[in-house]
Symmetry: C2
Subunit: 172 residues, 2 copies
């Protein structure tokens, strides 16, 4: 059993550029934003660390940085599954259409209530969860928290919730 | 250092009545709803367990059950402080006005971004956090999670975030 205490990130994050993390070969970005470490770069690094699986269960997915990370992981051949909310998915700025065009499996709720979770599980081992939607306003504007948990008991419960919803939202 | 793993609650909860928990003397409720234990009764019991302090930092507070718990704790002389979002606070159904009328200290953000946290700290020892707003739709309708954490490191970080926001939102 893993007993390391959870790690906490608070937002808003400073507006930094994480593009160097997304380049496939070590690269340098010449844009005018800061490239220092931040709560956003920490989240980005975590998503990009996926080697076997990435399960995303998030209400709002519009952040270019975080969705680019998901697309990069998928592009490396990692199995990516995404559960999101049907109402938000249709709004401008949602990156869920880009996920589908890239071939990522996406499922969503079918009713008027919200699929309001904001969690992801990396390689079945690391849970990212909290109040943060994956949007620019969430990352750079709002007061938000994210907890990163490696406790096997807790991660297992969120994996089970993901599988329950994945089956519940099976369109076939 | 506390090393018990966090406890997790998933929502929606079954529609149960928690009124017996809120009665000051042991009582019985004759309403037609179920009175069995649920994720809602677990949250209610936790809030009611406050003996020294209850710090609430939640975007949406409209649930009659959870706000009644906060009012009951305040009524017993426990120091209750509430941080919430200014935009949501003004909407119909918000219980923040009832908190103020009861004499509970309430502070809120002053800008267009959201105070989007959904956490509470009980007696400086127990953290409740997650995706769940304190609303009937959140509790009885949406897919939501709440994590209950007693790890001193994590609770301390959320207490510090609460104090930062409490000072930032000081209206004086
Ligand atoms: Zn750059
Ligand atoms: Zn009843």
């Amino acid at each position: 059993r893993e007993r390391r205490p959870p790690q906490v990130l608070f937002f808003p994050a400073p507006v930094t550029c994480v593009r160097p993390l997304l380049l496939s070969s070590p690269g340098h970005c010449n844009c005018s934003r800061s490239h220092r470490e931040s709560a956003l770069s920490c989240l980005t690094r975590l998503l990009l660390s996926a080697r076997r699986s990435l399960d995303v269960c998030v209400f709002t997915i519009s952040s270019v940085e975080l969705s680019s990370s998901v697309l990069a992981v998928h592009g490396r051949g990692v199995r990516v599954r995404v559960i999101t909310d049907s109402d938000y998915m249709a709004l401008a700025g949602s990156q869920v259409g880009a996920f589908r065009r890239a071939g990522i499996e996406v499922r969503h709720d079918q009713d008027a209530n919200y699929m309001h979770h904001k969690f992801a599980v990396i390689d079945g081992l690391i849970l990212i969860t909290g109040s943060l939607n994956w949007s620019a306003q969430g990352i750079f504007g709002n007061k938000e928290n994210v907890i990163i948990i490696k406790s096997t008991d807790v991660v297992k419960e969120f994996i089970e919730e993901f599988e329950r919803l994945w089956n519940e939202y099976d369109p076939s």
